[in-house]
Symmetry: C2
Subunit: 319 residues, 2 copies
């Protein structure tokens, strides 16, 4: 029942030897979402051993090249390795036309079903939902239209205490109703649900916000999220430049995480103008201690049962 | 006076860890031509320490993704690092429209002058010429329109023997006429040009042919070329598949090199279906011994003066 994020690219517009342009894969209970797809994302998927075919959904935050120029090559490669299952792409409406122009010379018709979903303009909207997860898009503010995304696991059923099933000879239909929170009746007595079950794992969630001025209007979306990825293109000494280029500073992102009571803040999209990325970490930690710098190959796993939040490097990151 | 080729990507459609998709840089006397530009070419340029700004001309052989999907990111990066000088792009006519669609969201207007040149359809044509080099495009045969390219150094002036300048007090205007092959007159006598000069270096040339059925009709173009790069997607055991997919086998490429009396054959674009690339080399060498397999980072330098042909790996290839 994994809820796991793999960073494929953590840099800003100029790729460097250890930070490719933006791309992440989020695995929500074996549904794989690719968030942004900078040039070279197919190389990073291969490097970090993420199966191309597992990816069912690609979400593109905006149409600056460092967030989507890898989409064309990834689709071509998916075709070459024999993909047949549909691919859902969510992005600014102009992306559909761009894709068709770029791919037209090599494909008379789409090599496998590609379902394009335009992101909702100027409003918050659910863009994907199934029985375990809801994905919400919400507009951010940058030099061109850009969206943030929230992935929310749906509330789970209560966990029945195994010994109680035998003790009260609970039938399968009764198990389902007890898991839903109902009490049990035995010989005219009511056995309280609290005596039969324990609390389920709290729904897990992830918020992705990149290439935006700092925005504090989405507290309702952020509150209760365990992890926020936020861009931090600049240090706060360059806050004027951040405003001018419509980006965020590490300090601003940390303040947002603190105010929204996020558990873990993940920063990325660092400008290459500074001498060390450690400066971003120091600046953010002064405001919000539980900050981590994204790096290509980092894998973050949300806790399950009584386990801890895990942040480690992919085993293939050092190859 | 370098004439030097650097292989940036030597693979076919699926990039692997040591062979990226097609791209090469040819330096002809400090004019830098980029031949094809698969996804990740900007990463390879950086890896092999080729300056982005030096590249004046980009030639795209055809519109399959593994030959041009890196163009968008490279242009974006050139803009970010402050390029101002014009960039000339030569490609199938549809490429101009594709470029404008893809780059439109991030650039209101081109970030630096981009001059697009459509390749001549169904005929051989000179696409670039200056005082030292001529570049010719010629149509090949693949599933979509594709072109080969020839780079020919122009004949050089004869080399004047330094001691003769003093001996005959040759003036500067006379030096230029002697270099052009004329005789010298002194006191009514004719001093033969052969006594004053030595032969110049023979003009150097390079032919690039990728993604094509084997074509023997271009012997006039090939004859006298020192180096031919040819695709060898398949081994000859799969010649039927090569015909069906409109590619070439290693043996066919070697036979072409032999018939055209090429000096050096460089093979690339290998299918990943075979267990070792050595098989391509063995097959080609049986027909044409002077064959080399292209590999990312390989640098081939044409001889100058009395030096030898040099084939070595870029010093940064192993980093």
């Amino acid at each position: 029942m994994r809820f796991e994020l793999t960073i494929l690219g953590s840099g800003s517009a100029l790729p460097t030897s250890n930070r490719n342009t933006t791309a992440q894969v989020l695995n929500v209970l074996e549904r794989f979402f690719l968030l942004d797809c900078g040039e070279g994302t197919q190389h990073q998927l291969r490097k970090f051993k993420v199966s191309f075919n597992q990816i069912g959904h690609i979400l593109i935050s905006h149409l600056h090249g460092d967030h989507f120029f890898g989409l064309f090559g990834l689709i071509s490669t998916m075709s070459l390795v024999g993909r047949e299952r549909p691919l859902h792409i969510y992005g600014p409406k102009e992306l559909e036309d761009i894709l068709s122009h770029v791919l037209k010379p090599q494909f008379d018709k789409p090599p496998f079903p590609i379902v394009f979903h335009s992101l909702p303009e100027d409003e918050i909207g659910i863009i994907y939902e199934d029985k375990v997860v809801t994905v919400t898009a919400f507009p951010l503010r940058h030099s061109i239209p850009v969206w943030g995304f929230k992935f929310s696991e749906k509330p789970r059923l209560r966990k029945i205490i195994p010994e109680k099933i035998e003790e009260y000879s609970i039938s399968i239909p009764e198990i389902n109703s007890v898991k839903s929170g109902e009490h049990l009746e035995r010989d005219g007595d009511i056995i309280s649900n609290a005596d039969l079950t324990t609390n389920p794992l709290s729904p897990r969630s992830y918020v992705f916000m990149t290439d935006t001025l700092i925005m504090k209007k989405y507290m309702d979306i952020l509150k209760g999220s365990q992890v926020l990825y936020h861009e931090a293109t600049f240090l706060h000494e360059d806050v004027k430049l951040a405003r001018k280029t419509m980006h965020t500073t590490a300090k601003q992102a940390a303040e947002l995480a603190k105010e929204a009571q996020i558990e873990n803040l993940l920063l990325g999209h660092f400008s290459t103008r500074y001498k060390s990325d450690q400066l971003f970490l120091d600046e953010a930690k002064a405001v919000f201690p539980n900050t981590t710098l994204a790096i290509d190959g980092l894998v973050m796993s949300w806790p399950e049962n009584n386990s801890e939040f895990s942040i480690k490097m992919s085993s293939s990151a050092k190859e």
